[in-house]
Symmetry: C2
DNA sequence: TTGATAGGCAAGTCGCTACTTGCCTATGGT
DNA sequence: ACCATAGGCAAGTAGCGACTTGCCTATCAA
């Protein structure tokens, strides 16, 4: 649903997570946690990030693959393009650069 | 700010408003109210829509021009394109159709 | 000038959501 | 077998956001 995509993008922390995943795919939960702390100074618990990842996953923006005791997360940008074309007028001057 | 754009898009009613404005620019508050009620069956007060329009306006998605006692609202899709390109990998296969 | 229309301001309520805390499961190393 | 690591589940809390209600201002028509 587009609803889930918009709600997922509404939170700044979730957008940071997408930033991390677009930089490097296949990160685990702990990797994302430490990156958010060190690079962005966010002091969040592991569960907070886990819940954010669940939201992103149910929105289709993040795909996860389990492997042993690790769970790797990958970015899927496919839902992004569809939701924005909703309001782009086909023949508006700013949309035909 | 991109923050305001994402928060503005998070609400379903505000997205409906954008739907109405992309269909016809220059609508007043009351026009939008009646359209949301008749076409989408939303039973919202005038103030609710007014506050939504304020959010959209502060996000730069809606421009307003006052004329007498009327206030016309226009859609501006410019902020939309910038926020999505944030996570689109330049050379990913799904982004080069 | 009076009344009706179009809109704004401010306070208050209510539900959702982000976050925490505590405990539990499972996999891997030694 | 043991312990550490990677992650999950569930309940509880706090703050934000959507919506309402009531009242106020401004413009136009009669």
């Amino acid at each position: 649903m587009a609803e889930d995509v918009f709600k997922a993008l509404a939170d700044p922390t979730r957008r940071r997570i997408l930033d991390e995943l677009v930089e490097r795919d296949g990160q685990t939960l702990f990797e994302i946690c430490t990156r958010l702390v060190t690079k962005h100074g966010l002091g969040l618990s592991r569960q907070a990030i886990s819940q954010h990842l669940a939201v992103l996953e149910s929105a289709g923006l993040v795909l996860s693959r389990r492997q042993g005791r690790y769970k790797f997360h990958d970015l899927d940008t496919e839902p992004l393009e569809r939701i924005v074309t909703r309001w782009l007028r086909p023949d508006a001057p700013e949309n035909t650069p």
